[in-house]
């Protein structure tokens, strides 16, 4: 609606005043200056907004990092320490030596790797089947896949807990990962990517004697690499940050406890609070790397479906 009255306006006055050359150029000059001033004032306000926003976002993270380097007594001192005078790096080593952070980190890496690799494989294979192969019930099966998106895991968590227990998978990585090895979102994302591949390319490949799997490996996968990367980053983020399911399965079982669940086991008292914070910082490192180096891929996956 509002867009409609955004039609291009008439030419600025200064330009249309052909007759009085000097006056018009002066006028134009002052208009330009006013515009520049306005823009500069706008820029100042923008920076104010940016800085205020950055403080809201970063202050808790800043407190996290600073407090993870304090002693228990510094942690409760008033005024608070906004800069660690003698940083307690021992909080970090304590997380490893006293709170099994190495094991939890390893468990998180195992759990996350299994989920990411499997989600990529199942999504790519299923999407490939839906896009490039013809078979009865293809559309129906695709609707079945989409229906999974309507049933969040939280709704089935009670039943899944019983199923995994009955399978005897409660204490191992099968229980932790197998329910998440396929994702409707991933299949949908890969399908959209494969649909972009021109038909002619597929036909040319068939003429060249490419079988379906050769076409997948040699043509479809290389062409959709950015989307695959986006899905990988998305899966990593989701798996690494899982909390509900690992809490149910791994809370009392150290051997498969993940780092997110580990966070809830430290803390509580001010004596161990700094170690819990150090542990939280450690848990963020892989994700910080993800954000810094794979930001484009992350954004592509998070915005899939958001923007037309």
């Amino acid at each position: 609606m509002a867009a409609e009255h955004g039609a291009p306006p008439a030419a600025p006055d200064a330009a249309s005043a052909v007759g009085v050359a000097t006056a018009s150029s002066e006028q134009a000059e002052s208009a330009r200056r006013a515009k520049r001033r306005r823009r500069r004032r706008g820029a100042v306000w923008s920076y104010v907004g940016l800085v205020v926003g950055a403080i809201i976002v970063l202050f808790p993270i800043y407190v996290l990092v600073v407090d993870s380097l304090l002693t228990p007594s510094q942690l409760i001192s008033n005024p608070p320490q906004f800069f660690p005078k003698n940083p307690q790096w021992s909080n970090y080593s304590d997380a490893f030596t006293q709170y099994n952070w190495g094991l939890y980190m390893r468990n998180s890496f195992i759990q996350t790797s299994i989920i990411v690799v499997a989600q990529l494989v199942t999504s790519i294979l299923a999407a490939y089947s839906f896009v490039f192969l013809r078979f009865p019930l293809r559309r129906t099966l695709f609707v079945v896949v989409l229906a999974t998106v309507m049933i969040p895991f939280e709704v089935t968590v009670t039943a899944n807990y019983n199923i995994v227990r009955d399978l005897g998978w409660q204490g191992n990585f099968l229980g932790l990962t197998v329910p998440f090895l396929a994702t409707g979102f991933g299949i949908f994302l890969m399908r959209q990517a494969f649909l972009q591949i021109p038909r002619e390319l597929r036909e040319a490949a068939v003429i060249d004697g490419y079988g379906p799997m050769a076409f997948l490996w040699r043509i479809a996968l290389p062409l959709t690499r950015p989307v695959i990367a986006a899905l990988a980053v998305f899966s990593f983020l989701g798996a690494w940050n899982q909390y509900l399911w690992p809490s149910l399965l791994a809370d009392n079982n150290q051997s498969i406890r993940t780092i997110q669940v580990g966070l809830s086991t430290i803390g509580g008292s001010s004596a161990t609070a700094a170690i819990a914070l150090a542990g939280a910082v450690i848990s963020l490192v892989p994700l910080a790397i993800l954000l810094l180096f794979f930001r484009k891929n992350l954004i592509r996956s998070l915005t899939a479906g958001a923007v037309k």
């Binding site: 609606m1 509002a2 867009a3 009255h5 955004g6 706008g42 820029a43 923008s46 907004g49 940016l50 926003g53 950055a54 809201i56 976002v57 970063l58 808790p60 407190v63 996290l64 407090d67 409760i76 008033n78 608070p80 294979l125 299923a126 089947s129 839906f130 192969l133 013809r134 078979f135 009865p136 999974t148 049933i151 969040p152 939280e154 709704v155 089935t156 968590v157 009670t158 039943a159 019983n162 199923i163 396929a182 409707g184 983020l237 940050n241 909390y243 509900l244 809490s247 149910l248 997110q260 966070l263 809830s264 609070a273 914070l277 939280a280 848990s283 994700l287 930001r295 992350l298 958001a306």
Partner: protein, 294 residues
């Protein structure tokens, strides 16, 4: 020719088997199994019978006062966390979308809460809000017990944590939305002499409405499933526990502490119906006001 067709179909099914098997065993079967769990009363001790009670367990659960309290907490949690997160995310996106030096750095900063897990957010705010921590005292907020132990304030604290965590995701989709807007339209409105405020409300917000709509739907679904912050900030022993017992937390407790799978399954049905209803309602109400352009 027909043999090739058969082969193609067989390959097609074979490639679908891994995904469909997982969905079958861990999505569709549990969905049905959950109904059966809800229709049986859970035995007090393993080995005792679990009598069939039909829908009576479900109706008694959803009419219990614990459930109504939980529903109220869930509503407060969602109604605060989602709009606050979205408005903050949109504001950050508008500021960071300008052609100014340094915005690239701000964009990374603003995205950062999206990668922070809700458990880590819980640990951070547990520290910040802790009354023994120097920060609250220094700010002159003398809360003892802490905000996360106050029956009346704890739910707002956890909703705030959820909003902070969701803000990063909201920012990411908002800035992607802003960058896809037709620049000429906004520029034209500026040249017409519209103030920045007017341009924002009359041009940017209507054009952004599909993105905002998407954020509201995703944000609500995420908030309904958000468990980590409450689990970490509000312990089982906490006096505020019953005041922050949102549905997902309630389900967890029934599985983990009470081992009452019948009640947990009934709650899960309620969560499913609520998620479905909210999503449908949002599509109905918001879609009508969403401007999709030509």
């Amino acid at each position: 020719m027909t043999l090739r067709r058969v082969k193609e179909a067989l390959l097609g099914y074979a490639l679908l088997v891994p995904a469909l098997a997982i969905f079958g065993v861990f999505t569709f079967y549990p969905f049905v199994y959950n109904l059966s769990l809800a229709a049986h009363q859970t035995a007090p001790y393993p080995g005792y019978p679990s009598p069939y009670v039909g829908y009576h367990q479900f109706t008694s659960v959803i009419t219990s006062s614990a459930f109504l309290d939980s529903l109220r907490s869930t509503a407060i949690f969602v109604v605060i966390a989602v709009p606050v997160g979205i408005i903050a995310g949109l504001a950050l996106a508008v500021f960071a979308n300008q052609k100014l030096r340094g915005t690239a750095v701000f964009q990374i900063i603003f995205s950062s809460t999206a990668i922070t897990s809700i458990a880590v957010a819980g640990v951070i705010f547990f520290t910040i809000l802790s009354p023994s921590n120097g920060l609250m005292q220094w700010l002159g907020i003398n809360t003892s017990p802490g905000i996360n132990e106050s029956p009346s304030w704890a739910i707002y604290a956890v909703a705030g944590v959820q909003a902070w965590q969701f803000m990063g995701f909201a920012f990411i989709i908002m800035i992607a939305g802003l960058q896809s807007l037709p620049e000429e339209v906004i520029e034209a409105a500026r040249i017409d002499g519209a103030s920045s405020w007017r341009v924002f409300w009359r041009v940017i917000v209507p054009l952004m409405s599909p993105t905002i709509f998407f954020a509201v739907v995703i944000g609500t679904i995420t908030a309904l499933q958000s468990f980590g912050a409450i689990n970490i900030l509000i312990g089982y022993q906490n006096v505020a526990f019953t005041h922050t017992n949102v549905l997902i937390n309630y389900i967890f407790d029934e599985i983990y502490y009470s081992r009452n799978f019948g009640v947990a399954a009934s709650l899960a049905i309620a969560l499913f119906l609520i998620t479905l209803a909210v999503t449908v309602a949002q599509f109905r109400v918001l879609e009508r006001r969403v401007h999709y352009g030509s």
